[in-house]
Symmetry: none
Subunit: 241 residues, 4 copies
DNA sequence: AATGAATGAGACTTCATTCAT
DNA sequence: CATGAATGAAGTCTCATTCAT
């Protein structure tokens, strides 16, 4: 399947239907079902997605569904993995030529939202999976987290990270994932549909992950605090001194 | 109601039932229903929570439910607001004597997880509400975000924040909310139940919000980058270089 | 009870409540319930009349209902008899000074519709009773029919009726009742509410009961036919010859 | 469908079930449901007819019901139209060779009761529809009334009617309908079941619609009155003078 | 394999009646 | 007696899954 929810050239395919081998046809139906399910879940959520809706959309009979999937749940369990793989591939291609860790994270961050724009259904498929396809959700989160850990470890070894211990890598990854989710929820959705993330949100994201948010209070009088203080002066923008 | 889902000393109360006035009894039943609903949603999620389960748990007849709530959905819509208010109160009491913004955020952060430990059902009630009580969810999120904005603005005016423009306050709030959610999801849940957040996670959280994660690359050669560089030297801990 | 559904001077009575004896109060509540039931049935029909609606309207508690009536059905069973008696009384007063049978029937006919205008709820109370208070309905119909039989017999003995045998009296009564019902249904109802019967309908009614509808065909060549023929000529109005 | 409520040779059909095509089977089930509903409504009334009763009687699962009808109400709304059409067809066939208007009305009148004997359930289906399928009821009544108007107009144009103005046609139709209903109610029902209408009732009906009931009093001294007087003498049967 | 109708468990909700105060 | 909340039986409808063709 090229794309779970891709609005593939159905007509073309249908016209060729006669020439399809048995296996091709079988594959085509499976894809149709997955695609129909993805679109429906994207629009209505898992809870409101009925087998009858999926099959109607895929233009097959209800019974056919059960020739391809054990149950509705079985399909749900495959939805996120398939689309998730696509997403990872999509992002991977973008970050290929990033030089620094920060740059890479920025590209990845943007790519995520670009993917979402291309696959608006992904938002619900992903975030509702915690409830309706918990295993798939866990796997996906693990995969993403592992990816982060790998990436962060490399960066850390190059001194590009404010991190002391290896054990901080995973939590850091989850924090970044949480940020992504919430910025997505708040700034990349409109009337239940995915839209592009405003550019300035990207900037704010960048600042958080580079500069943090809070300045360390004077009282601690640490070297770090001093450095931060100087940074605040240099960077300007602080309201008072 | 002391607590929506408080596993109050039911037996004791029941024994006193005879002395309850009508109004007290009415209040008691409403509380029982809310409490039963909260517990059930906390354990099974909104989707698997049936009126019959709630009433069985509250030890009343099914019909009684509808003397107190218009519909199952009506109760669902009240679940998060009630518990959410409690949570806010709980946190507010803790942050009363925080001096700096950072300290305040830390206390608030910890308090959230303490509340969760006390009310393990809150996790699902809160995060599944996006699906099953969308209005309540939105309201809650707005409330929290507004709280953050207020708090952050004050901090910002005191120069305790790395923020240039007021418009960054809200996104910043959402990012912090996202972090909280994901740390909660990953580190404060065990077998579907809420557990305490490990102490070291708090530390990592603190670092992120103060120092950020990534160091700015040399190439940009900005003042901020320099400062950061010096900080990295002073603070030590960077593995490489 | 002066009137089942009479919009009696409630306020007045309430003001006097303190002076009511126990029995008066009891009577007042019963009347209120009957009245509330009558209005509700008149507006919504028996099927949609709930005990809670009745008691709310009568401004008493639900439980009070069962101090006055065995069950909802028991009240339903009394509704038609009470209002039916009123109707009969109302009509009886009007026909007191009719001289001929025809005149009497006309007055009675008109009085029925006048009563209906005064008690719009009577339509449903009466005609839905066939379903929801069958015994009361049967009794009512029997009563009306007996009244007709008595009246018709007298008229017949005076030679004012085209009837050969006593056994025709009852069916004749029922036919008149059916006519009344259907003219009522079709011409004295507007948007589910009772309205006045147009005057010309009364005229048509009169003609039917005096002249019949159909002229007897020539072929029978009976004396009656001849007479009728002459009547047709005299009365004019036949379109052709 | 041959007949909505026809107690068709089910067993025979079932034995043939294997040979039924899908469409036939589908039609068979729909018929079974309609038939079961008709019988049940005929016996118990709309109010006491439950989906479970219908499906049990039709020997299908409850869910099957909803493959054929949107809701219970939807079926109710179709019950009268379907059976009503049958009734009209039944009557139409009978009146084909009536020569005079009076004869035609007599045949139609009798045919109605014959139909009722064949379809005892029709009584409740028809007359309870005013409450439980109001639109269908109104439509049916309109149809019947229009039929009457058409028929009466023709008769009137041939001079077979005692009517002066076209506007009297419709009310006349309704009066005849009302008579039919009440004679049916009183004389063609026994223990809630439809039975044949006694022959002498037909005679009484005929007299009413030809001769009317009341004789016009002398005082008016009109030609019509005189004619009627002579008729009364000629026809004999008046009890005395 | 495709079809699409049949199945039936199970959820929500209503409301007459009961009952403790 | 009045109150009004509690009760629970009963009914409608949904939809995942099965099954005969």
């Amino acid at each position: 399947m090229d794309s779970v929810a891709g609005s593939a050239p159905r007509e073309l395919r249908v016209r060729r239907a006669r020439r399809m081998t048995r296996e091709e046809k079988s594959q085509f139906i499976r894809d149709s079902l997955m695609s129909a399910a993805a679109m429906t879940v994207g629009e209505q959520g898992y809870a409101n997605t009925m087998v009858s809706t999926i099959t109607a959309r895929a233009k097959v009979a209800q019974g056919t569904f059960y020739n391809y999937f054990e149950s509705k749940q079985a399909l749900f369990d495959q939805l996120l993995p398939e689309l998730g793989k696509e997403m990872l591939q999509f992002i991977r291609e973008r970050i290929a030529n990033a030089s620094t860790a920060l740059e890479r994270e920025e590209i990845s961050f943007k790519a995520f939202f670009d993917f979402l724009k291309k696959h608006p259904e992904f938002y619900r498929i992903l975030y509702e999976a915690e409830l309706f396809a918990p295993t798939a959700f866990r796997d996906h989160m693990d995969t993403i987290a592992r990816g982060y850990v790998r990436f962060l470890r490399t960066a850390w070894e190059r001194g590009e990270l404010n991190i002391k211990d290896e054990s901080e890598l995973e939590p850091t990854g989850y924090m970044l994932m949480g940020i992504r989710h919430y910025l997505c929820m708040q700034y990349a959705r409109k009337d239940g549909k995915s839209v592009a993330l405003p550019e300035h949100i990207v900037e704010i994201y960048k600042r958080l992950i580079t500069d943090g948010i809070f300045t360390v209070p004077e009282t601690s009088a640490s070297g770090a605090a001093k450095a931060r203080q100087s940074r605040a002066e240099g960077g300007g923008g602080g309201k008072g001194v």
